[in-house]
């Protein structure tokens, strides 16, 4: 009977439409939700956890710096390398901040995937206000989940990682992150 077919068609189309929407809508929602997200940014699972303990030798000296010994004040742990161009721009900012917050905050540089004489030369040429350690095996960088350089961890006085910053720092960001780390309490 021809009139029955006319009734069936729209109901089939509605089913197909609903099935299509069920598949497509979640993808559209995911896309819209993540439009403003930086795909390179992966949140560190270490935030809120104790910083992995390590001790590394200070570049150009036999002195060994132990992270645990720095407890009592916030630590800014900056991973960098001499071959990294953004690190050149960041270095004077960190040196100035190291001087500005001296006594309140301990700045520490960690260099990996590099050569010690090159680091020493860089520090001689560009100056420094805090110790720079050499992570020759790169194991400390791995334990901190470092992807590249520069990456900076802000650790509070109790040794807990409060934040991580990827890319070159500026004075305002340093201040904001130090506030998080409880440097101005």
């Amino acid at each position: 009977m021809p009139h029955r077919r006319v009734v069936e068609r729209p109901s089939l189309n509605r089913k197909v439409l609903i099935a299509g929407l069920v598949v497509v809508v979640p993808f559209i929602v995911l896309l819209v939700m993540n439009l403003g997200r930086d795909p390179r940014k992966v949140d560190s699972p270490l935030i809120g956890k104790q910083a992995p303990p390590f001790s590394l030798r200070q570049v150009g000296t036999p002195a060994v710096v132990d992270l645990a010994a720095l407890r009592g004040k916030p630590v800014v742990l900056n991973f960098w390398a001499t071959w990294c161009v953004p690190c050149y721009a960041e270095h004077p900012v960190l040196v100035a901040a190291g001087r500005q917050y001296e006594g309140k905050v301990q700045f520490v540089g960690v260099v990996f995937d590099d050569q010690e004489d090159k680091i020493a030369q860089f520090l001689r040429e560009n100056g420094t206000s805090y110790p720079t350690l050499f992570d020759e095996s790169g194991k400390t960088a791995i334990a901190f989940g470092v992807y590249g350089v520069p990456e900076t961890f802000f650790i509070d006085a109790n040794g807990k990682i409060v934040d991580k910053y990827v890319g070159p720092l500026d004075p305002a960001t340093i201040e904001a992150k130090l506030r998080l780390a409880g440097a101005f309490r």
């Binding site: 992966v42 949140d43 560190s44 303990p53 001790s55 030798r57 990996f112 194991k139 334990a143």
Partner: protein
């Protein structure tokens, strides 16, 4: 002894004097330098320490399960990047100490997040990644079977109704009076006794009247 050989001996002696304390100092220094201890992150090793060929095999296998963080598409085992090579060295150290595959993966996961695993572990939302393709395949299969059966049924029904609608050699009108004339006409025209075709007579074995 010539002055030249005396000079050479003095030089060697002087070098040894400088080199010995350095050599003595070096191991002492490396003892003090401590990378974060895996024990602090994943506890005691689950298995026995590995060496030799077994160690290399296990290192390559575990490293192939880890994503190189700077290349993203490659495993730590396949990537030539320094970062990946450092990570592979760390995998070797862990495996050599007896850490299991899962412990090694957790060691990296705690620092880099789940992203560092090339295969998402079967837990939480990740079940979707593993389960969805199978579920979709089953749902799709059921759907295809359902549609094909419905199409077959529709084709069969329409061909049956079409056959029913087509007049055959022995089709008779519903009107009995008219049917009588049709049978008579067939008898006269074709010489079929009673107006029934010979085929129909053979198959049914009786005469339709």
């Amino acid at each position: 002894m010539t002055s030249r050989s005396l000079f050479a001996r003095l030089l060697v002696g002087a070098l040894l004097l400088f080199a010995l304390p350095l050599a003595a100092q070096a191991p002492a220094r490396s003892d003090e330098v401590k990378a974060p201890d895996p024990k602090w992150i994943v506890g005691e090793p689950a298995g026995p320490p590995l060496t030799g060929v077994e160690l290399e095999k296990e290192t390559a296998r575990v490293a192939s399960l880890l994503r190189c963080p700077v290349c993203q598409g490659l495993s730590v085992n396949d990537s030539p990047a320094t970062m990946a090579q450092n990570m592979k060295r760390q995998v070797r150290d862990l495996v050599a100490k007896g850490y299991s595959e899962e412990q090694a993966l957790i060691y990296f996961e705690k620092a880099y997040g789940e992203f560092v695993r090339l295969e998402p572990p079967m837990r939480g939302v990740n079940w979707l990644v593993w389960g969805a393709p199978v579920a979709l395949l089953v749902i799709g299969g059921v759907f295809v079977v359902f549609v094909v059966k419905r199409m077959q049924r529709a084709t069969k029904e329409s061909s049956e109704s079409a056959q029913r609608a087509l007049p055959g050699r022995d089709t008779l009108p519903d009107d009995e009076h008219l049917a009588h004339y049709v049978l008579r006409t067939r008898e006269l025209a074709y010489g079929w006794p009673g107006g029934v075709s010979p085929d129909s007579r053979e198959t049914s074995g009786e005469v339709a009247r």
